[in-house]
């Protein structure tokens, strides 16, 4: 691609998408215009004033848009094109498991019997839904190696909150008040945030040279005040902790519970189970390992599976099966921590996750994890070996932060790249946009300098992985030859270019002025 510098940074010959100033739906339409046709007033007209006293009534209507249906459709279809999406390009966003979302799942979830089923429908008349939830509970129990499941939590972090509350309930039931929760410095931000919300205190654990938990540090901190250790395994470095058995032993000896952040479950389905590793509680991200589409930031679903000793405290309701084979929702659990939300959880996501599990089956799930790990290691190898000329290779500038191999994802350090090429990880990420790729996760985990966290997933082809490795190499060569400015000013070809986030935060404009 010819240097955008030459053409003033691509700002000329904007595409219609670029040129058009973003207009919100509130800036369209005309007074009186409408899409909604109100069903006829088929009951005796009544003066609202008579049914609703003045002081309870709204005086001036909310200033919602006044637009026609064609305008609404055109507006949202048009702005949708300003999104990058998984169905159009490679999305190696580390820790997010951007795997293909099969359309069968959308078709199945849209069936009237699922989509228009009211959550308070009597159990006898919702047996299909309850059986689906029951089957999903059992499948998740088998996959995690933990026998008892609650599907209630709304997302991963909600599952974490449930998990820590369960830990509290467990300890309290034994008359203990343990206030500390150990979290490695590689932990995802939701872990410490959850601990605080659950009323406990975070104690950080160091990471050792192999990228696992520093055992000595753990030993030192695993005292009688520790309620729980929250661990992601493989962790956010993509490393499966080699000392997991020892870690479990230490934690259990300290009388604490072991929590498994399931965001990285995609690395081990059918290959290794949290329950067998000694974990007491695990949350699943159905929107990661089990193909619930991410929706641009949700919906998600974060079921939890727990060991026998935690089971009594599970949130209500859980699906149970009667002797006669019928399914019902069990709300009557005296030791339960209670509800985490309304109704029974994100059923629509259960349908998709269940469809996925039934499509793949036992073998398919294992194959998925095997290929996720294979793809990650292949991409890692390709990246490291990619030639930069003068005998230099990408790994000289973007070394693997820890270890030699990886599980389903890996973390590179952009430190050398920054020092030698004056190219920050952020600039590399932005330049990748011009190549039509979604960048990896950047600057996480925090302990890696200029971190670049790459998770290709199992549903990508080798050709795509090769193309991505080439693009990274091309950007580094470009910076070496023409300097870092090109990347620093990237992207050029996107609907908008770099945005002023500082100004946005300094003087927040978070709603349209009307």
């Amino acid at each position: 691609m010819s240097s955008p510098q030459a053409s003033g940074g691509g700002a000329t010959a904007e595409t219609p998408l670029q040129r058009k100033r973003a207009r919100t739906i509130f800036e369209q339409g005309a007074p009186g215009r409408r899409a909604f046709v109100c069903p006829e007033m088929d009951v005796p007209e009544v003066d609202p004033a008579q049914l609703l006293p003045e002081h309870l009534r709204r005086i001036d209507p909310p200033r919602l848009p006044e637009v026609s249906e064609p305008e609404i459709v055109r507006h949202y279809v048009s702005i949708s094109k300003r999104n990058f999406d998984l169905d159009s390009g490679f999305y190696p966003l580390g820790s997010c498991t951007m795997k293909h979302n099969p359309r069968l799942h959308e078709r199945a979830a849209a069936l009237e019997g699922h989509a228009r089923l009211h959550p308070l429908q009597e159990s006898e008349r919702a047996q299909g839904a309850l059986e689906l939830m029951w089957n999903l509970q059992n499948a998740l129990a088998e996959i995690s190696g933990l026998p008892h499941v609650s599907l209630q939590p709304s997302a991963g972090s909600h599952g974490e909150l449930a998990g820590v509350l369960l830990t509290r309930a467990y300890h309290e039931s034994r008359g203990e008040r343990r206030m500390k929760v150990l979290t490695p410095d590689t932990a995802h931000g939701t872990n410490p945030a959850t601990v605080t919300m659950a009323g406990l205190r975070v104690v950080k654990l160091a990471t050792d040279a192999q990228g696992g938990i520093d055992i000595e540090d753990l030993r030192a901190k695993a005292d009688g005040e520790v309620a729980c250790l929250m661990l992601t395994n493989p962790n956010t470095l993509g490393i499966f902790d080699p000392n997991i058995e020892q870690i479990a032993a230490i934690v259990h000896d300290a009388g604490a519970t072991l929590y498994y952040d399931g965001a990285n479950l995609n690395a081990v389905m059918g290959l290794s189970r949290p329950g067998d590793m000694g974990f007491d509680i695990v949350h699943f991200n159905l929107h990661k390992s089990f193909t619930q589409p991410h929706g641009g930031g949700g919906p998600g679903s974060g079921p939890i599976a727990v060991s026998e000793r935690i089971a009594p405290f599970l949130p209500v309701p859980v699906v149970t099966r009667r002797e006669d084979g019928a399914f019902e929702l069990d709300h009557d659990r005296p030791h339960s921590i209670g509800r985490l939300r309304g109704f029974h959880g994100n059923y629509g996501c259960f349908v998709r996750a269940y469809a996925y599990i039934r499509s793949l089956g036992a073998e398919g799930l294992r194959d998925a994890s095997e290929n996720a790990v294979l793809n990650a290691n292949y991409l890692l190898a390709r990246l490291r070996q990619a030639d930069l000329g003068e005998g230099r290779r990408v790994e000289d500038l973007l070394p693997l932060a820890y270890g030699e191999l990886c599980m389903h994802e890996f973390v590179l350090s952009g430190g050398p790249m920054k020092r030698e090429l004056k190219l920050k990880t952020l600039d590399l990420a932005k330049r990748l946009l011009d190549f039509g790729f979604h960048p990896p996760t950047v600057y996480f985990p925090l302990l890696v300098d200029e971190a670049l966290m790459v998770e290709p997933t199992e549903t990508e082809t080798r050709e795509t992985l090769d193309a991505f490795a080439q693009a990274v190499a091309e950007i580094l060569r470009e910076a070496a030859l023409e300097g870092p400015e090109i990347a620093r000013n990237a992207p050029y070809t996107t609907p908008v270019r770099r945005l002023d986030e500082v100004a946005a935060a300094k003087h927040p404009v978070i709603r349209q002025a009307l």
């Binding site: 709304s154 290794s272 209670g338 599990i357 790990v373 290691n377």
Partner: protein, 449 residues
């Protein structure tokens, strides 16, 4: 590929990384995989064993409602561009999603008459819990005063979370179907972190929101609690909005706005507040800005509140929220439009009162309360509700929700909560009256004998 990696087998990749002791050396005990057509047939079969609102005349509500979802909304929510991206971490290629959030926030601010809104939280009840946490961060106090008129799921959810927050929940009873103002005033003191009520409340009654917030404020004087109102957004075309009733934080279940029932989720929770709470809001917030060429654009902003930056000091642990469902919400509000939301509200109001009058005219059925009701009404059956519902089911009518089954309150015995949407016509209501009346009569007879 193995050669490039330098291993001889996939097994080696795992053998070298996972201790043998924690390897699973058997196949998972799960059914074998199936071709797409068989999985579809199976899920179709499960769906067939559920009675959806398509197969019976349903008056179920109590938090989720069978409103009509315009077809174009399905289309938008199914578009790859909205369905498949992650949270917009790269704004240059996420303007679509970010603009939707910005428009959504604007619409929610308009609906609630409050100045700030986030881009969604999980759903209704947990939104109330999130508001309680905001109150705790705001004033550090530990008492939550909760109207018994809040949805039972909300109260249970508040209790669960409050335990984590180290807060206690104090429930204030109702009188005449609405929050007992005296008890409410009495319960609120200087230690009260937040005072929460629902509008309309769980029994369909419209509360005097202004009176409740005023009471909350002056009963605590200086140390006024954060007043939280849980709203049903579809009523806000005709009900005085929280922002005009002295409410500090409005939360609510968004399902009624363009989201399907889905047996209870996913939907979205709305969360709006007064300016002063902006930096304590949970969740994503989109903000407007410009790019290097001066083009208008949108970004995730005020991220220093969030877990990925602030970690244990974050204002919430929420990460993945309900972006796609919120899209359905704002698209639905644009579809209703400024006039439509009023017209719809007035239609629901009129039908709800028609339903109340028709039902309470029946022998064996009277009103559970006589407060104004806008889209849901509560009656008392002089017969066992479960038994009556079973009789109605035979006529393919689902008359509504068994109140006591949800609240467990003695005083709710016989209570039936009947929800009205624009999909329930006068003819439907008349059919309900006829079926329910007959069922009640039959049940009383059966018991009498």
């Amino acid at each position: 590929m193995l050669a490039a990696i330098g291993v001889s087998s996939i097994e080696e990749l795992f053998a070298r990384q996972i201790p043998e002791a924690v390897r699973l050396r058997r196949a998972l005990d799960l059914p074998a995989g199936m071709p797409e057509q068989d999985v579809y047939a199976h899920l179709r079969e499960l769906a067939r064993r559920n009675v959806s609102c398509e197969e019976e005349l349903s008056f179920l509500g109590a938090g989720m409602y069978d409103h009509y979802v315009p077809a174009f909304i399905d289309m938008l929510m199914e578009r790859s561009e909205f369905l498949t991206p992650y949270t917009p971490y790269q704004p240059e290629i996420s303007q679509g999603g970010l603009q939707v959030m910005f428009e959504y926030q604007t619409a929610i601010c308009e609906l609630t008459a409050l100045p700030v809104s986030n881009a969604s939280v999980y759903e209704g009840p947990s939104a109330a819990a999130a508001a309680a946490y905001l109150a705790k961060l705001h004033n550090g106090r530990s008492r939550l005063v909760v109207s018994a008129g809040m949805h039972p799921h909300t109260i249970e959810t508040l209790r669960t979370h409050a335990h984590g927050y180290g807060m206690e929940v104090v429930e204030v009873a109702l009188s005449g179907g609405v929050t007992d103002l005296v008890a409410w005033r009495g319960a609120i003191d200087g230690d009260t972190s937040a005072a929460l009520f629902a509008q309309p409340n769980f029994y369909g009654a419209v509360e005097d929101a202004q009176a409740l917030s005023d009471a909350a404020k002056d009963s605590a004087g200086e140390d006024a609690p954060v007043v939280v109102c849980q709203v049903d957004p579809i009523t806000l075309g005709i009900l005085r909005p929280p922002g005009q009733c002295g409410v500090d934080v409005a939360v609510g279940e968004g399902q009624a706005l363009g989201n399907r029932l889905d047996f209870g989720g996913p939907s979205f929770g709305l969360f709006a507040a007064r300016e002063e709470y902006l930096r304590r809001m949970p969740g994503r917030i989109a903000g407007e800005t410009v790019d290097v060429d001066g083009r208008r654009g949108f970004v995730l902003t005020l991220q220093t509140r969030e877990q990925h930056i602030r970690r244990e000091k974050a204002t919430s642990n929420i990460c993945t929220a309900q972006a796609l469902n919120a899209l359905g919400g704002v698209a639905y509000l644009a579809w209703l439009g400024r006039r439509g939301i009023v017209e719809l509200g007035e239609l629901l109001l009129a039908r709800t009162h028609y339903a109340r009058d028709t039902l309470t005219a029946i022998d064996g059925i009277d009103a559970l309360h006589t407060q104004p009701a806008v889209r849901e009404l509560a009656v008392r059956l002089h017969a066992d509700v479960a038994a009556v519902k079973a009789r109605c089911a035979r006529a393919a009518v689902n008359p509504g929700v068994d109140v006591q089954a949800l609240t467990g309150r003695e005083e709710d015995r016989g209570g039936l909560l009947v929800a009205i949407t624009e999909q329930r016509t006068r003819a439907d209501i008349d059919r309900l009256a006829q079926t329910l009346g007959a069922a009640v009569a039959a049940e009383r007879e059966a018991v009498a004998v």
